[in-house]
Amino acid sequence: MKKFNLRLYRHIRQAKGQFVAVSLVVAVGIMSYVAISLSVIDLEVGAQRYYELNNFQDVSVELMKINESGIEGIRRMPRVESAQGRIFFKAPLEVEDKDEKVNVGISSIPDAKNRINDLYILKGGWIQDKRRDVLVLEQFAEARGIEVGDMVHPQIGGKDYELEVKGIAGSPEYIYLMEDEQNLLPQPTKYGILFVSEEFAQQVFGYSKAYNEVLIKLKNPNEDGIFKDELEKEIERYGVQRIIRREDHVSDRIVSEEIRGAKQMANVIPLLFLGVAAAIIAIMISRMVKNDRTSIGVLKAIGYRNRDILTHYAKHAFIIGALGSVIGVFTGYLFSGPMANMYQEFYRIPFKVRIFSWQYLGIGFALSAIYCIGAGLWGARSILGIVPAESMRPEPPKKIGKTYIQNITFIWKHIGFSWKVVWRNVFRSRKRFIFLSVGIAVTFATALMPAHMLNVFETMFYDQYGEFMRMDYEIAYNKPLSERSAMEISQLVDVTDIEGKLEFPFEIENGWKSKVVSVVGLNPDTEFYNLTASDGGVLRLSHDGMLISEPMAYTLDVEKGDIVNLKNFIPFKDDMRIKVDGVVNQSLGLNAYMDIAFMQERLLDEGMITGVMIDSTDRVKEKMEDVKNVSSVNSIADLKNIFKEFTKLTYAGLSVYALFAGIIGFAIVYNSTMMSINERRLEFSSLRIMGLSKEEINRIVLKENLIMTAFGIVLGIPLGRWLIELLQTSFQTEFYTMTAPIETNSYIYAAALTVFYVLIAQYFSSLKIKRLDFIEALKNRIS
């Protein structure tokens, strides 16, 4: 080994703690990039392959009724490759616990080749006896412990059907299973899909040779937009309720949002970590060069070129980057496997896809090399200005005046000796002060994110189910009924309050943007919905306008006062222009709210409702079990419980973020303190000679760090707020918005975490102080 490289090696070995700490920051950045990128690619490719293999729909239509000749008409359309009718209805499923309300979607599946949305049989086989065999969707079967050979009991039209489970299957349509767009979280124990033969479905739902849904494959899937308009005209007479393009399909949309968000994270996290690592490296190398000024002069005198010396110091940075990226790429690759599995299990893709892309590994290496070497060269650039002759002479002492605090004599007089040392150092080492404070600010801001996110999720769900929606139960009908049905329900269960509700899907258009959303008709004096604006002002349902949720305002880019087009699919009902009266402070769900009377009159039929909302302490679920025309009973308490389950998973994810913040904080504080100790050996030696113990010196360093930590936290507040705003904007989707204000306890939690990380770094730095040979430092003049 060249002796110049040997010097490098020994230097790194000597300061291994610092090198490892920075390498760890690089490693986490690269690991996040590689792990997220690889696993997301696996998810993306897996979903695509699944879609191709099982012929996933390009467009689907929900309508009142369409016969075989109507479907034949669709098939004849020039852009259509194939079309398939389907019968789909929701029905209650009888389960052992009478108090538990479980719903299933009963979906017909044809006995033909080249089925659209074909099933992927995981266990058992295909339907044999078309009158009593059923296939169960994997997630539901797993959640409820349903096995092949078990019997299931859907209740259709008030009648109990006993069906035998012939197989467990996956479906490209239900990669992510949600009952509807209003539920953000899957509830696989409460809702599932049963696939039955067409014959059985047509018989039990009274759809002889007819269907209420059509699945369509296009010759060119990119033409789905144009096709939608053509299709509307073609099937107008069949009572179209919704035309859903693939990009609007709930399951695909959720997966796509996940992929988009994850890709964004894969780009942001590494940049944050590499940025921090680059800052530490640049400062570390520049301090190193400053301390090695004489040695660099000697090297130049011996005959080493500027280029050799610059490369020598840049190699320090390169080694940090290389170590970090090797660890990062390796662990990232290792983590990508379980992460991809987790993704592919969460989003039910029945086969494992593993794509090893060198591209991401290469980018990982290249990213760390660019950042680290760049930072190293930046830090070492002062080498070029070192003149060997001058570097041999000791630097003249710096001109130092009084610090700000020394000018406040009243305070200064009353400060003890060690605090004087502390304050003087804090104010004098301005670069160190800025570096450490900014570093702490980044740590605090990174820690604030998970703290806030936890609050956001809590706020999002607790506000939605408790503050915004205030009913105890929501009872949905399987078809519109007269308002009298509410009276009937109040006779079946003890209610303290009851209101009818009309909920129907409509397409709302604003310019070129459009979305099929659930429009909810409510009593203008509703007690069950707390309709307020984000500024807290109460919103009222007017007799000719509508209110929209925040995610909808975001999706359609609509503001209060805008006029939108409401497209009505119901035969003989006209589309209408309607004014947006306000945006409701609702984080979850795409909804619009109208006065129920206005909605009945203009959009549907007078006196009709699709469900009721009640307040009751009665055994509602049990009593509603066999009630005809009731498709589902949801309690707000159940939804809250589902959220609690969900937050357990979220905790794990957020803890990783908190750990990331810790790595950044540790690396910054540890490196900064170690650099400071190295530079202040003479000062500490003098203090030792004056009679201070190592513990007292350690306390001085701790006090300095804590003062800078306090300052950094204050600086971190606006930085954290800005980061969170950025996060909220980039993670805003059409399913939810995250606009909750940052709670005081999030700040406290983030500050406590930051101080904790600083103390850990301080502990490791104190070991160095204990090992320092102060006498040697006093007599030594070699570097």
Partner: protein
């Protein structure tokens, strides 16, 4: 001095520094020649410009005026790259405070210099020459000042340079150790025929030189040959 090859010609060298609004003249019209194999002592009090002169001769600094010719090549016209090559292959430096690399052993410090030269000497032989065979694997912090200075001399000699430039080589050493260093430099001069130039404020050292150039306030005030240089062992201060 007839019969000797001229190694270096210093012609009317001057050096000015700007310190704020004041111009400091560190060197003024310094001219002399150095011959191959000479042992030269440049003697002067602090601030007399001797270190500045040494730095210019060694290619570590550039003059404000005048020129320096080394083996008929004008080094004062050299760019940074050529000056580096000049320092690398033609000059060996010995500093007052040794300036060794702390994390390299004695031998490694010497190799650090020798491995970049065109025509280096065998490191083991040089270490033997400076009597450090036993201490070769010690780090500077494990060595005395005298030993460290020996390593510094070995580092300069191992490069096999044409001239050794020593800046107060005994300045940080006690009398006895100082003498041993002077003996070593004398040995390098006599046994290896290397030109050695020492700058010092210690007048006693001048007695061992072939030639003594005295400086004061940036000027050369005398340039004389010693008729009978005394061996370093007889020097007293």
């Amino acid at each position: 001095m007839t019969g000797k090859t001229t190694l270096m010609i210093v012609e009317k060298i001057s050096k000015c520094y700007q310190m704020g609004e004041v111009e400091v003249r560190a060197l003024e019209d310094a001219s002399f020649e150095i011959y191959d194999g000479e042992f030269v002592v440049i003697l002067g009090p602090s601030g007399s410009g001797k270190s500045t002169l040494l730095n210019i001769i060694g290619g570590m600094d550039v003059p404000s005026g005048g020129n320096v010719l080394f083996k008929d090549e004008e080094i004062t016209l050299y760019g940074d790259k050529k000056l580096t090559m000049y320092r690398r292959n033609s000059v060996g430096f010995v500093f007052q405070f040794y300036n060794l690399m702390a994390n390299l052993t004695a031998r490694e410090n010497v190799e650090l210099a020798s491995e970049i030269c065109e025509n280096p000497l065998e490191v083991d032989l040089v270490m033997e020459e400076v009597n450090l065979t036993e201490r070769m694997d010690h780090f500077p912090s494990q060595m005395s000042g005298g030993e460290q200075q020996r390593v510094a001399i070995a580092r300069a000699v191992a490069k096999n340079p044409d001239i050794l430039l020593c800046d107060e080589p005994t300045g940080a050493l006690d009398f006895k150790t100082g003498l041993s260093i002077l003996s070593l430099l004398n040995k390098v001069n006599k046994n290896h025929g290397k030109t050695v130039m020492i700058i010092t404020h210690n007048a006693a050292i001048a007695d061992m030189a072939d030639r003594v150039i005295k400086m004061r306030s940036g000027r050369i005030i005398s340039d004389k040959y010693n008729k009978e240089p005394i061996p370093p062992e007889r020097i007293v201060w």
